[in-house]
């Protein structure tokens, strides 16, 4: 069996007493696109540069295609790693034309002409061979940078914030294209980004990074719906936490009953993550909630509802459901999956049920 494309064991990098990257464990398989997602200064770029060879790890081992590139007593130079890189601003060599840029990393033995053509065909820029970098648009520059990185057939290709310099329209267009090109080239790639949408669009898997640590590595669906930590839940967007109570033998929140009650859970304060698309509202003069804000976003409305407890909660509604401000509403929970819950502030998953016994015991005592 082939070894995984990349393996990191306990990669750690310290800067001035602070762990920029701490104990990163990561395995990447052939043809897989992985996105490292995190806020700025979370260590994601440092991790990428360690893999490329421009930073050396203080601890840990990095292996690509079963070959150890960095580890105790081993440090391979960047030019010997066979790892391609696309810099944030593409870093096209301004004194070389497109073809010269693309052929830069090819060694003498390869058939340069056909390889240049092949790479440019792949990114769809065959006619631009003789253009200079400054004569290209932002999107074209990016595709040339991609062709240049792919031309020497690297084991892995690294992309540092590839879309951060582009405006929204071009961005979503290029995202699709870059994914398509990489898949067609059967490349193994690691992206770094701070944009959740980019991450979900591009990644076969997403690695969420926070203060130098990888908090969760999973498919986009898993990361969004089953975050392992509070940070992941909040960073993926729209996370709101509601307290859980015991009522008539069932676990309930202010917006409804939790349907799934399984195994054991220990804790005094339980909160459950509720995303705005997991709940709905209905106008009802008897309802406990009041709409205090409404934003129209085309495809849907975002309502902010103040619950009777004073808690504020955001709800997504269809664009047809227009309610005036200060309408009284009932809020309904309609989760179809096990919601993530926090027990005493600690994240727990898929085991809401036992909380039942715990809370029941507590209430009996009282």
């Amino acid at each position: 069996m082939k070894p995984p494309a990349i393996r990191c064991f306990g990669l750690t990098k310290r800067y001035g007493g602070i762990d920029a990257v701490y104990d990163v464990e990561l395995t990447l398989y052939h043809g897989e696109l992985l996105v490292i997602l995190g806020p700025s200064a979370c260590g994601k770029t440092t991790l990428l540069r360690m893999i490329a060879g421009f930073e050396y790890p203080d601890r840990g081992t990095l292996a690509v295609e079963g070959r150890i590139l960095a580890g105790p007593g081993i440090l391979e130079a960047p030019e010997k790693r066979n790892i391609g890189m696309v810099a944030q601003d593409y870093a096209l060599f301004p004194h070389m034309n497109v073809a010269e840029n693309v052929s830069y990393g090819l060694d003498r033995k390869t058939d340069r002409v056909s390889r240049i053509k092949e790479s440019l065909d792949l990114v769809g820029l065959t006619e631009l061979e003789h253009r200079m970098p400054h004569e290209l648009s932002g999107g074209e520059q990016q595709r040339v940078a991609l062709a240049r990185a792919l031309a020497p057939k690297p084991d892995v290709i690294l992309l540092d914030e590839p879309f951060s310099n582009l405006d929204m329209g071009l961005r979503s267009h290029l995202r699709a294209e870059v994914r398509w090109i990489l898949k067609k080239a059967e490349a193994t790639a690691i992206f770094v980004t701070h944009d959740q949408e980019d991450a979900m669009y591009l990644g076969d898997r997403i690695a969420v990074m926070h203060s130098g640590r990888l908090e969760q590595v999973d498919t986009p669906e898993e990361v969004y719906t089953k975050p392992l930590t509070r940070f992941v839940a909040e960073f993926m967007g729209h996370a709101q936490f509601l307290p859980v109570y015991l009522k008539d033998g069932a676990l309930v929140t202010e917006v409804g009953k939790l349907s799934n009650t399984e195994n054991g859970i220990q804790g005094d304060v339980i909160e459950v993550m509720v995303r705005p698309d997991d709940i709905s509202i209905e106008a009802d003069p008897e309802g406990g909630g009041v709409i205090i804000e409404r934003v129209f976003l085309g495809t849907h409305y975002i309502y902010t509802v103040r619950l009777s407890s004073g808690e504020k909660i955001k709800v997504f509604s269809e664009h047809r459901e227009k309610h005036p401000l200060f309408t009284k509403v009932v809020v309904k929970l309609n989760t179809h999956y096990y919601p993530m819950c926090l027990v005493d502030g600690e994240p727990r998953l898929r085991d809401i049920g036992v909380a039942y016994q715990r809370i029941a015991k507590k209430q009996n005592r009282a």
Binding site: A52, G53, F54, A77, P78, E79, K80, R81, N82, I83, G84, M85, A87, Q88, D89, Y90, A91, L92, F93, P94, H95, Y104, G105, D107, M132, P133, H134, L136, G138, Q141, R148, A149, P152, L158, S164, N165
Partner: protein, 504 residues
């Protein structure tokens, strides 16, 4: 600005057949080749010295990088004629080196230093800092991502330097080379003391020999060569495609470890500094002390020093005041007229001092006899010569002042002039000071125009050094030379330390 060129044309073509005759006279052609050889030699040698020093001080772990940088740039404050003086004193017949060798090995003659070798040596050692400055600032602007990408594509450090870094530096090298070439072309002091007949010295000799037709023709050729150099620099810079293509975060510079080459490189840098700074200063000190022992007085020198300082300060004030509106108009109100005005000012850049001096003498005698042989005409010459220097600094700085700052001030209800005085000028203060100090240094060192246009009896440090040195009274030249270097090195050092990128 156009005045000197008009003068030259009138002068050269007043008798057309004679002019053409003079043009192709063997002597003129020889002078042309001598000039070209000197320019190529000095420019090439300066690049060869300055590019490595620049790279080592910016990008490597060379020990004492800051000190080395300042010391390597300081020769800029040594005038070429002082450099030539030192070269003659050390390497010339009966110079220090020959005398030392005679004592040890009984060597009686050294290879001839007068002519091309001496001129090349002294001019290279005094002008390589131009290239050092431009290449250093070029290195600071380099995008590290380019080098990293090159390495991730399989090129090692050395290969990356030649394939990526050096081509990026081309325009910086060209800009520095332009300064060196124009400096060499217009240099009068070093070539005259080392008796190497380039255009500027030849013109001076013709003029002194009352052969003014030939002087004018040669001046015109000199201007043509200057424009050729400007044109060449434009070519070498390429079609303006060496800018970074997109904006983005620039990574901090990465310092390369020199490993076991660290101390050999250090030795290389210090030996250049030794030859271009330490030796001249040491020799001048030695002579000054010897002169004092021999009973020479310094009385005359103080008056001349005062002349030098006063005229240099006046020149820098006039030049900066004149360049401010030109720079401001050409950037904020770019009509064709303002742009043309600005471009014309750069002509002064290509006009050697000797040409400007000759033109102004003609102008003074024929059109403004009241001004002739007064300080005002001399100041006017400085203005023509150094306007481009001040203009360059100010333009760069005005370009950095975002017009929206001025617009906000005006939308807050302030009149245009008030905004200029309270917002724009204060923002430009560093550039004004920098431009003024550059003009001050240049005026202090200027020789040919000062020599030809000074009112009778008006002597500066520069002229007194040249008179003493050309008559081989080295000891008498030493004290003013030392004082001149000291005066020029104060603003130079200030400019250098103010420069943020020295802090690394």
């Amino acid at each position: 600005m156009i005045l000197p060129i008009i003068y030259l044309c009138i002068r050269s073509f007043s008798d057309a057949s004679e002019a053409w005759d003079l043009f192709f006279r063997e002597r003129t052609i020889r002078t042309f080749f001598r000039t070209a050889m000197l320019i190529i030699g000095v420019t090439g040698a300066s690049i060869a010295i300055a590019v490595p020093i620049a790279w080592f001080t910016v990008r490597s772990n060379l020990p004492f990088r800051r000190v080395i940088t300042v010391m390597a740039i300081l020769p800029l404050s040594i005038p070429s004629y002082v450099g030539a003086l030192v070269v003659i004193a050390v390497l010339g017949p009966k110079g220090s080196l020959q005398q030392g060798l005679e004592m040890l090995f009984n060597v009686e003659r050294l290879p001839e230093i007068y002519g091309l070798p001496g001129a090349m040596l002294s001019l290279t050692l005094m002008s390589y800092p131009f290239v050092l400055l431009t290449v250093r600032s070029g290195l600071f602007k380099l995008d590290m991502a380019l080098e990293e990408t090159s390495r991730s594509l399989g090129s090692g450090q050395v290969l990356t330097f030649f394939r990526i870094t050096l081509p990026q530096l081309r325009s910086s090298i060209a800009a520095g080379a332009l300064l060196v070439a124009l400096y060499t072309l217009s240099d009068f002091g070093a070539v005259s003391l080392l008796r190497y007949e380039t255009f500027s010295w030849s013109i001076f000799l013709q003029y002194e020999g009352f052969n003014r037709g030939l002087a004018a023709v040669q001046s015109l050729m000199l201007v043509v060569v200057a424009f050729l150099i400007l044109f060449g620099e434009n070519k070498m810079r390429g079609k303006g495609r060496y800018y970074r293509v997109t904006s983005g975060a620039i990574r901090p510079l990465i310092l390369m470890s020199l490993g076991r080459w660290r101390w050999p490189v250090f030795t290389f840098c210090t030996s250049i500094i030794f030859a271009s700074l330490a030796v001249p200063v040491a020799i001048l000190c030695y002579w000054t002390i010897q002169g004092l022992y021999a009973g020479q007085t310094l009385d005359l020198m103080w008056g001349r020093a005062l002349n030098s300082i006063l005229i240099s300060i006046s020149a820098s004030v006039i030049t900066v005041v004149a360049s401010l509106p030109i720079a401001f108009l050409s950037i904020r109100y770019p009509s064709w007229l303002n742009t043309l005005l600005e471009k014309l000012c750069y002509v002064g850049f290509a006009l050697p001092g000797i040409v400007v001096a000759l033109a102004l003498i003609f102008f003074g005698i024929n059109l403004a006899p009241l001004l002739y042989q007064t300080v005002f005409l001399l100041l006017f010459a400085y203005l023509i010569l150094f306007l481009p220097v001040a203009l360059g600094v100010l333009r760069a700085s005005i370009l950095q002042v975002n017009p929206s700052i001025e617009e906000s001030a005006r939308s807050l209800g302030r009149a245009r002039f008030w905004v200029l005085m309270t917002i724009t000028l204060p923002l430009l203060r560093p550039a004004i000071l920098a431009g003024a100090s550059l003009v001050f240094i240049a005026t202090l060192k200027e020789l040919p125009a000062t020599l030809l246009l000074s009112p009778p009896g008006f002597q500066t440090l520069a002229t007194s050094i040249w008179f003493a040195a050309s008559e081989a009274f080295f000891a008498r030249a030493a004290a003013p030379a030392l004082l001149l270097i000291l005066l020029a090195s104060i603003p130079t050092t200030w400019l250098l330390l103010r420069e943020g990128n020295l802090k690394q």
